[in-house]
């Protein structure tokens, strides 16, 4: 198992305590960052090669450079702690186990972009994380790491913790900003509403994922050369049919096969069938793709459209999984979470849901497979935001690799996978 950094102290019960965090080298990176110019902080993040861990993989340093430097302009940092991509649980793990690691990253990043207010938009259901962060913010403030004139640097910062109210859509950055302004979590049109230009309260805003900001903490604790020498760590949430589901820290571009091995392999000696390498928004991949590196560039290059690293949530399915049922479940998820703003997504997911419902209830029709492909085609490149575009990849991939399962459902009205493995 490779050495871990972000997860190093995650299971230590006292890590949330400021004294312990300090004794393990905490806030040293912040001291170093505050001793150099904000521009130099951005340079270092650039050189580290860090890319956003929320799903889109955008280079973090480059994102920060879009934020205007004029001190007369109010700028904000918004932390995306809404973790909702099915299969993803790394951010929750980081916040519960090591809240100061995130707070330190927030302070360094806010300093870099010249923000004097940072907002954490936390998923409401994360009550343990809420308590941990509330405690860490209070401790950091009384010790002078937050508030006015942080560590006598002349830099001021306040962190405000806000919670969501249950909406997957709110994880998308512009919908998140709407929600944080107290409205329905509907996405904004990009352009003109790129957060870096017109973000929170129409001010330039950097929206960053929890894990991304925890990486920033390490880059400043140890320097970007050290960080790169670690092979660029990434957290992978591994779940489904593996022996030891959990969050694994591996060097970027570790193969899917290797990550499954780290998680104890496919459970109970069963045969691997397929996986979602990047949450339910990525296409599924069958066995032939197991040696693909889990990397931003390698995954989209495979010949299965819509394959991506996304939030690095690896959901593993063994031979007992019925693909019609699984893809039907993802369709229902997107249908229920669609914000309803645009027609292809709002209507497309409902139609798909109806087709899956009848196939799974023994009433599938021969023409249904063409119908599914047709609806998927109609949703590709036509949706207002990536939520709707997330439906066709796994659907199309399942129709390509597991067409026989659909055909069996339609022909016989029954599930051969379920019948074979019924306990």
């Amino acid at each position: 198992m490779p050495e871990s950094f972000l997860l190093k102290y995650i299971s230590e019960p006292d890590q949330a305590d400021l004294e312990t965090y300090l004794s393990r080298g905490g806030y040293a990176g912040l001291r170093r960052a505050l001793s150099i110019a904000p521009e130099a902080v951005i340079d270092e993040v650039d050189k580290s090669g860090l890319r956003g861990r929320g799903g889109a993989g955008f280079p973090t340093g480059r994102k920060w450079r879009f934020i205007p430097k004029d001190p007369a302009i109010t700028r904000y940092l918004v932390v995306n702690a809404d973790e909702g991509e099915p299969g993803t649980f790394k951010d929750r793990t980081l916040m519960e186990g090591d809240p100061h690691q995130l707070i330190e990253g927030i302070i360094i990043s806010s300093y870099a972009i010249g923000a004097r207010h940072a907002f954490i938009y936390l998923r409401r259901e994360f009550s343990t994380a809420r308590d941990a962060l509330t405690g860490a913010i209070a401790q950091a403030r009384s010790a002078g790491y937050l508030g006015r004139n942080i560590l006598r640097s002349g830099y001021d910062l306040e962190i405000v913790l806000a919670t969501g109210a249950g909406a997957y859509m709110a994880g998308e950055e512009t919908a998140l900003l709407e929600s944080l302004e107290g409205r329905r979590a509907m996405p904004r049109l990009k352009p003109p509403f790129y957060p870096a230009v017109k973000g929170l309260y129409m001010q330039p805003t950097a929206v960053n994922n929890v894990e991304t900001l925890c990486h920033v903490t390490w880059i400043f604790a140890k320097g970007y050369q050290w960080y790169k020498a670690q092979g660029t760590p990434i957290l992978i949430s591994v779940s489904g049919h593996v022996a030891r589901p959990g969050v694994y820290e591996v060097p970027l571009a570790t193969t899917i096969r290797k990550v499954i091995e780290l998680a104890g392999g496919v459970r109970g000696g069963r045969k691997f069938k397929a996986c979602f390498p990047g949450g339910s928004s990525s296409a599924i991949l069958p066995e032939a793709y197991l040696d693909t590196p889990m990397d931003y560039d390698a995954l989209p290059k495979v010949d299965v459209p819509g394959t991506m690293l996304g939030s690095a949530a690896l959901i593993v399915m063994d031979e007992t999984a019925c693909m019609v049922e699984i893809i039907g479940r993802t369709v229902e998820f997107y249908r229920d979470e669609s914000c309803g703003k645009c027609t292809p997504c709002r209507e497309g997911t409902v139609w798909l849901g109806q087709v899956f419902h009848r196939m799974l209830h023994g009433q599938g029709r021969t023409e249904d497979l063409d119908l599914l492909s047709g609806i998927a085609k109609g949703m590709t490149g036509t949706c207002f935001c990536p939520l709707g575009e997330s439906v066709p990849p796994s659907l199309n991939a399942s129709l390509r690799f597991f067409r026989h399962e659909y055909e069996h459902h339609i022909r016989t009205g029954r599930c051969d996978v379920r019948e074979k493995y019924a306990a």
Partner: protein
């Protein structure tokens, strides 16, 4: 906020403590409307659900149109618009939990509590709901009872957990992620 503590609201359904808490939340933000989602939870926790009076109370304190508050609240899954039981059970039915047999867990809960999804037991102890991925897939199949996480569920384990809540207390969950 607790319905049993302090003065109960009169005209607008919210106590003065709840109204003060909402004002405190508003003061945290450059634009006070940013506190709306949190304010709705303050109201929900006090009244038990978002009754028309609770919505009106939030609208009044925040100086927002009632229609706007209702429209925002209706977008999100975690607000209740009718009374719920003392403990709201949310069973995750997303992929990792589905792969680990959440269907069996949900069925067991329905049979044991003798209610369907969306319903509340006649003694008003439990409301049963389903949820999308709760970001605890390493514990699949899992559920939340109130704020508490319970994972690696089996029907037997569910029975044992329910007994602990049946007397109205909220025990701390023993299940925590790695």
């Amino acid at each position: 906020m607790n319905a049993g503590n302090g003065e109960r609201g009169t005209g607008n359904g919210l106590s003065s403590a709840a109204r003060a808490e909402i004002r405190r939340l508003m003061a945290q933000f450059p634009e006070p409307q940013s506190a709306l989602l949190d304010a709705l939870f303050v109201a929900q926790e006090e009244v038990g659900y978002l009754s028309p009076e609770a919505i009106r109370g939030v609208a009044e304190v925040m100086d927002l149109p009632e229609s706007e508050v209702t429209s925002v609240a209706s977008f999100y899954h975690l607000y209740h618009f009718k009374p719920v039981g003392a403990h709201v059970i949310q069973v995750c039915t997303n992929l990792s939990c589905a792969l680990n047999g959440c269907g069996r867990i949900l069925q067991h809960l329905k049979t044991r509590l003798k209610i369907d999804v969306g319903q509340t037991t006649p003694d008003r102890r439990f409301t049963l709901k389903t949820a999308e991925c709760l970001a605890a897939c390493e514990l699949a199949p899992m559920m939340l009872i109130g704020d508490d996480r319970h994972g690696q569920l089996t029907p037997e384990k569910v029975d044992a957990i329910l007994t602990r809540y049946a007397d109205g207390r909220s025990p701390k969950p023993e299940a925590r992620g790695p």
